[in-house]
């Protein structure tokens, strides 16, 4: 039963991508097929999550080889939870894109690649051995290369060049790290490496391997000082195409760090704990200061991704059950909120034709409802109760202040200060985009007097995604209990084996 669920969740995106390739160029058919598959995928991952929650993790050893020889997959609660998160965001961004994009040739390329990306994400979350994780990372990044370059505008190509180079570099380091770990432990399976690693005598080599993984996952997750590729890439491509990439790719880096530092190399009391703490502090501060200087809607949001990654890293680095639970909760909160903010920026761009703060304005006067949707997400990102960001930051703050060492306490205090600066940037977007009068002499090209109803009619999918995400954020904020319980269960599973 369990492995059937695992296989169906796993295979659905691949099946979808392959069948979409058969209908290359026939956009209407492709949209229907994609819609059916993405809905099936959502349902399947909900079933998987419920199954794992009630009857424990699912393991699958491909070809019935014993674990450690063949390729293995494990879906534990963390994997199932992240797969569920992926499917929700993928589902919503699918409808966002299919209703917003008019160019049929681009959407025809986009749809299969989008499903390959989901396939890669799904695989990365359930891989049980390190090399397998590497392969899924590659599936993911190659898909994201295509999504970032799709359209071929100058800015996109410039951004992608840097993105490709830094990702290839990161993958090579990752692979070298895997090589070292295999060389000293004789295994690729994460559990086995974890149990063999304390017995290794050459601690120097272990430290080198761990450093390789920190650098490689750090590039993927965009932590300080390895994040510079992110703000120069994420704002270049059309929002719909890259919503899933923007939402989840950095979080896969965080997921990999979390797995690595709990299963393979327990972080507690090692040299890497203070290093990660300091890095997380810098990530938060530098990200938010970078955002303060920007004048582009999406560039501000991109820098905020970096800043928020710092919070998640801080949760991992504090390394208590509560802190890890906080980090997982923060990932969920951040994926939903960040996706929503990006989608809103895309909708504003659709209506007003720009991302530049200078050229935008007056959105509130024309579309107060869109302004409300933005404000809810922005408040949530800042961490104003009772929205979801508050709970994430609250859990992390409690965990940090109860750590009773000066370093975690300092970093937690910094994180609270960063929230204030986040509020500053959100206010800046609010003032420039929504509040101030529209600077353009020529009215943007949307029908007069029709306002919101016309917009809903014109872009039903975009509206559906944004409203659903906002509702999810509100639910997560007002009823956080059940999600926090899941996060606690996940983090407890790492500490009590």
């Amino acid at each position: 039963m369990g492995s059937n669920i695992l296989v169906s969740v796993f295979i659905l995106p691949l099946l979808s991508a392959v069948s979409l390739l058969f209908f290359w160029g026939r956009v209407r058919t492709q949209k229907v097929i994609g819609g059916v598959f993405i809905s099936l995928y959502l349902v399947a991952s909900v079933i998987q999550f419920v199954f794992v929650k009630s009857s424990g993790s699912i393991t699958l050893d491909v070809g019935s080889w014993p674990a450690g020889i063949g390729i293995g997959f494990i879906v534990d609660l963390l994997s199932a939870f992240f797969v569920l998160l992926t499917s929700v965001v993928a589902f919503l961004s699918y409808f966002y894109v299919t209703s917003s994009s008019n160019s049929s040739s681009k959407i025809s390329v986009f749809l299969p690649v989008f499903f390959f990306l989901i396939f890669g994400l799904n695989g990365a979350f359930i891989a049980a051995d390190l090399f397998n994780l590497y392969v899924w990372f590659e599936v993911m990044i190659v898909s994201s290369f295509v999504l970032f370059t799709l359209g071929g505008k100058r800015a996109q190509l410039e951004g992608s060049l840097k993105y490709v180079a830094i990702n290839v570099f990161s993958s090579s380091i990752f692979l070298a790290g895997i090589g070292i770990l295999y060389g000293i432990t004789g295994s690729l399976n994460m559990q086995m490496i974890g149990s063999n690693l304390p017995l290794v005598e050459n601690r120097m080599l272990v430290s080198i391997a761990v450093t390789f993984f920190v650098v490689s996952f750090g590039i993927k997750a965009a932590i300080f000082p390895l994040f510079f590729w992110l703000p120069s890439t994420y704002h270049t491509a059309p929002v719909g195409y890259t919503a899933l990439v923007v939402a989840l790719l950095t979080k896969v880096g965080i997921y990999a760090l979390l797995r690595f530092f709990t299963v393979i190399f327990p972080l507690q009391g090692t040299l890497f704990q203070p290093i990660l703490l300091v890095l997380s502090g810098f990530t938060m501060v530098v990200g938010v200061l970078g955002a303060a200087a920007q004048t582009d809607f999406r560039k501000i949001l991109s820098f905020h991704i970096v800043s928020q990654i710092g919070y998640m890293l801080m949760g991992i680095a504090i390394y208590t059950p509560l802190a890890i639970a906080g980090a997982v909760f923060f990932v969920v909160h951040n994926v939903l909120v960040k996706t929503n903010l990006f989608l809103v920026s895309g909708l504003v761009n659709k209506l007003f034709g720009s991302y530049k703060l200078k050229e935008l304005g007056g959105v509130y006067r024309k579309f107060p409802f869109i302004a409300l949707l933005f404000a809810l997400s922005a408040f949530s990102l800042t961490g104003i109760p009772p929205l979801s960001g508050f709970w994430g930051k609250y859990i992390l703050a409690v965990a940090g202040f109860s750590a009773n060492q000066w370093l975690p306490v300092t970093v937690t205090a910094i994180s609270l200060g960063v929230s204030l600066l986040t509020l500053f940037s959100m206010t800046k977007i609010w003032n420039e985009v929504f509040w101030k009068p529209n600077p353009q002499v020529v009215e943007p090209n949307f029908p007069r007097q029709s306002f919101i109803i016309e917009v809903v009619k014109q872009y039903p999918g975009m509206f559906f995604s944004i409203v659903t995400l906002t509702v999810l954020i509100l639910i997560l904020g007002i009823f956080p209990n059940s999600i926090i319980e899941v996060c606690m269960e996940i983090s407890n599973s790492f500490f009590h084996k």
Binding site: V135, T149, A155, L157, V164, V168, Y182, S232
Partner: protein, 117 residues
């Protein structure tokens, strides 16, 4: 043999990093390729090299009777080569596109996405 290979790997790594840091786009592609080769060689060496002992179980035995060359790193390298090949192909097409659109192969001039305007 091991020492020679180790030095060679180090050399290839340094060449790769040098090429990646260069501002020419073609040099970047070469750097990516070199980095892939260096990593593959690195895995090959760090998983211990064994000479003349293929991973074959003798005809009338159930398990290995003596030390054997581990086939797993070779399988890893094979996979990594294939993945690297795909990425290199993409990167080559990408620099061609970048060159056609921007008219320059100087990476220092491709900084418009980093600027604040």
């Amino acid at each position: 043999m091991d020492i020679l290979l180790a030095i060679l790997t180090g050399l290839i790594y340094s060449v790769a990093i040098y090429l990646l840091l260069h501002k020419g786009m073609v040099k970047m592609i070469l750097g990516i390729m070199m980095l892939g080769y260096a990593t593959n060689l690195f895995i090959f060496i760090i998983a211990r090299i064994t000479r003349g002992l293929p991973a074959l179980i003798p005809e009338n035995a159930d398990s290995f009777l003596q030390a054997y060359a581990d086939p797993v790193p070779q399988a890893l390298i094979l996979t990594a080569i294939v993945i690297g090949f795909g990425i290199q192909t993409f990167a080559i097409v990408l620099i061609r596109m970048v060159y056609k659109t921007t008219g320059t192969s100087d990476m220092d001039k491709l900084s418009s996405t980093d600027k604040i305007d």
